[in-house]
Subunit: 428 residues, 2 copies
């Protein structure tokens, strides 16, 4: 029963929360070593998955994601090594305050507890996420895609065996096997603190709809670039092209390009030519089609994440119309403005209600590695807890502790009695 | 329709997010002044509510909470004045990082957006919470208890009218009137970012069960005091008594007292005498009843928040049994240990999975005012976002901004190309 595995995981999480940084880094080092030493077993398991995938006619894109070869393994090991170099996110004293003589309040970072992580296809996600969980002192229940079952099984076995032998409490990580187990896991809101889904929009939406546990992540990635009247045409074309074409199938790629009407006439032929060369299908509103020849775009397009070489273009009267459009149709993920006017840029960045708001650079920068977070468990469009790319810090919360020597509240109530000092000794 | 009011609130929230600290403080000052000037109208409205409450046979406790007289009004005004003195929680740059030449990443605090606040009885909660929302730049939909309708109507009218005339965007705050409107509000997960319920456990649980919007708060408050073998008997009796009796009907009062078996014989008669004088009903497990005469406690008691002058007592073999009991039966709210042994205290504080963990002091200190947070919207037992007493900071999240001058991701992919610098300019 999953509930028993989950309860073990919860018990282990109490112990993992107190592990010191040295123990965690030692375990990570041993895991990295074990992965290298067992490369053959991993690659052999992966070829079984790949063979089955071919037989079952898995698409090329999914096949590519499923593949876990020597290069992917090296990248995973490198990821672990960079994780080791990051400071321990647990035990950081954020607030230290003397409430009164001898009564010391501290707010200290601690792990969230038990994470339920569900991901599709990519076996490297298993390595990355379980190691992030380990470093942040969390316990994890993991479930990967059925198509990667053999690879995930071998990887999880290596990580669990090695980490436990390095002193990480038994039961801190478990790999679930079936879809039914995920359904059961999603119902355990008393045991699991946070669910992190990694996969397609439909997959994430399914998870969000089917659990009362908080879910960290994003469903859609409808990102915009707005080219202001005061934009440099070259910068605008470069940024818009990179945002759309550098990797069109990911969440931080641009879907809709908004243009100030004063610049549309000059800009549209330039960007159209670049899009044509790259094979991008352009859809424009009525105004756009006055300047260039393209397919029509309608209301549906503003709502659509193409994840493909398709772009919708709309002309707006002013920055405020662009802001309103983005706040209405966007997914609060990543949106960019191109302008040489600082005031307009500030207004855009202030009023766009998204996790990531950029000025004169590509939406594709929205990523934990590029932000220097070391690694990421995903990008969150939530408006509580962690927003944007989420690294180690997003897997922690804090605990308040208060040390006294017999202090009681009765002494501080009514008039003429003891008063609080509230003297900050440290306040991050 | 509530959806229209909520949409107005969402639009206003975009504007309130950019209000500077001066504007917000000016509005708060004017609200405080207007409340004082309109004291008669508030008190008159409240007497109507009180008269109706008497006619309908409202209990004494609820009647007392409903009462909003000159003293309560002064306290509310004082609360606003202390809020004015707190720094603006919005616009704080938490991270500033040079990703590469001219490519600057910033993480800046911003309001959450639209808060849905539902509270029972106490009209002072309306003043406190709407002013916290204003100071943190959030927009709010509020719904108070039907029994306080007249008072809430007048208070909301004063706050809305005054704040809008002080320059806060129209629509930033609305008062809902009926229960049906709350049901509708709880369904608007695309518009409302966070729900904060204030009221009885049943009320909070009802809200939590009936919305997909994140809920900040706690349902139960099953708090413990554990008296270790190395406790000073006087300190233990003082802390246990204050934790139970100083205000027994609130969430941070102790419900269960755990005793190390080595100290039980000496401690039980002492605390029993104090509890007897205060009229506390004592329920003990089999071991406890070997030392003192009291009612029996069973499994149900460990799960129960009495909110009354009742205490359950259990004897444990060691600190780890106390920790296991608290993590199993507690509500992860506030738990305390009394011991003179630092090592045991540390183990307890490390392993107890609660928002607030105390050493040698009363559980009753668990409170935003006592912590020096200025004011609180409630105490959260959530494990993401904000935990423990939640003040202004808990009503904010952050936004990532990135400024470049035409930077694109294509320049940073593949080998031999540009590398990120990730130079921290500021890191809180």
């Amino acid at each position: 029963m999953i509930i028993d595995i989950a309860k073990q995981c919860r018990e282990a999480s109490i112990m993992t929360s107190t592990m010191d940084g040295q123990t965690k880094n030692k375990a990570l080092k041993m895991v990295a070593k074990a992965l290298k030493e067992n490369a053959d077993a991993v690659i052999e398991a992966n070829s079984k998955d790949l063979k089955k995938a071919r037989e079952e006619g898995l698409g090329d894109a999914l096949y590519k994601r499923l593949k876990f070869d020597g290069t992917k393994l090296s990248e995973s090991v490198e990821g672990i090594e960079s994780l080791i170099r990051l400071p321990d996110p647990v035990g950081v004293v954020q607030i230290e305050r003397e409430l009164d003589d001898g009564l010391i309040l501290r707010r200290t970072s601690c792990p969230i507890g038990v994470l339920g992580i569900v991901f599709e296809s990519r076996p490297d996600a298993l390595v990355q996420i379980s190691c992030l969980a380990l470093k942040s002192g969390n316990a994890v229940l993991l479930k990967g895609g059925a198509e990667a079952m053999e690879t995930n099984g071998v990887l999880a076995d290596i990580i669990i065996r090695t980490s436990v032998s390095a002193g990480i409490p038994k039961g801190w990580m478990s790999l679930l096997q079936t879809r039914d187990e995920v359904t059961e896991m999603l119902s355990l809101h008393d045991i699991i603190d946070l669910v992190i889904p990694r996969g397609s929009n439909e997959f994430v939406q399914y998870i969000m709809r089917n659990t009362k546990i908080p879910v960290l992540g994003h469903a859609d990635g409808i990102c915009h670039v707005y080219v202001d009247s005061k934009a440099d045409i070259n910068v605008a074309a470069t940024v818009a092209f990179d945002s759309k074409c550098q990797y069109p199938s990911v969440c931080n790629a641009m879907e809709t390009l908004l243009l100030h009407h004063d610049i549309a006439g000059e800009f549209l032929p330039v960007i159209k030519e670049r899009f044509d060369v790259a094979g991008v299908e352009v859809r424009g509103d009525k105004e756009v089609r006055k300047y260039i020849d393209c397919l029509p775009a309608d209301e549906t397009d503003w709502h659509t994440e193409y994840n493909d070489l398709i772009v919708s273009i709309k002309i707006v009267k002013e920055v405020d119309e662009a802001i309103a459009h983005i706040n209405q149709y966007g997914s609060h993920h990543t949106d960019a403005i191109v302008t040489s006017d600082r005031k307009t840029a500030k207004r855009f960045m202030d009023l766009i209600d998204s996790a990531n708001v950029f000025w004169n650079c590509s939406t594709r920068f929205s990523d934990g590695f590029r932000y220097g977070l070391g690694a990421e468990v995903g990008i969150s469009t939530n408006k509580i807890h962690a927003r944007g790319p989420v690294g180690l810090e997003g897997l922690t919360i804090y605990k308040w502790t208060l040390e006294g020597n017999g202090h009681i509240v009765a002494d501080y109530t009514g008039s003429g009695l003891r008063k609080f000092k509230h003297r900050d000794m440290r306040n991050a």
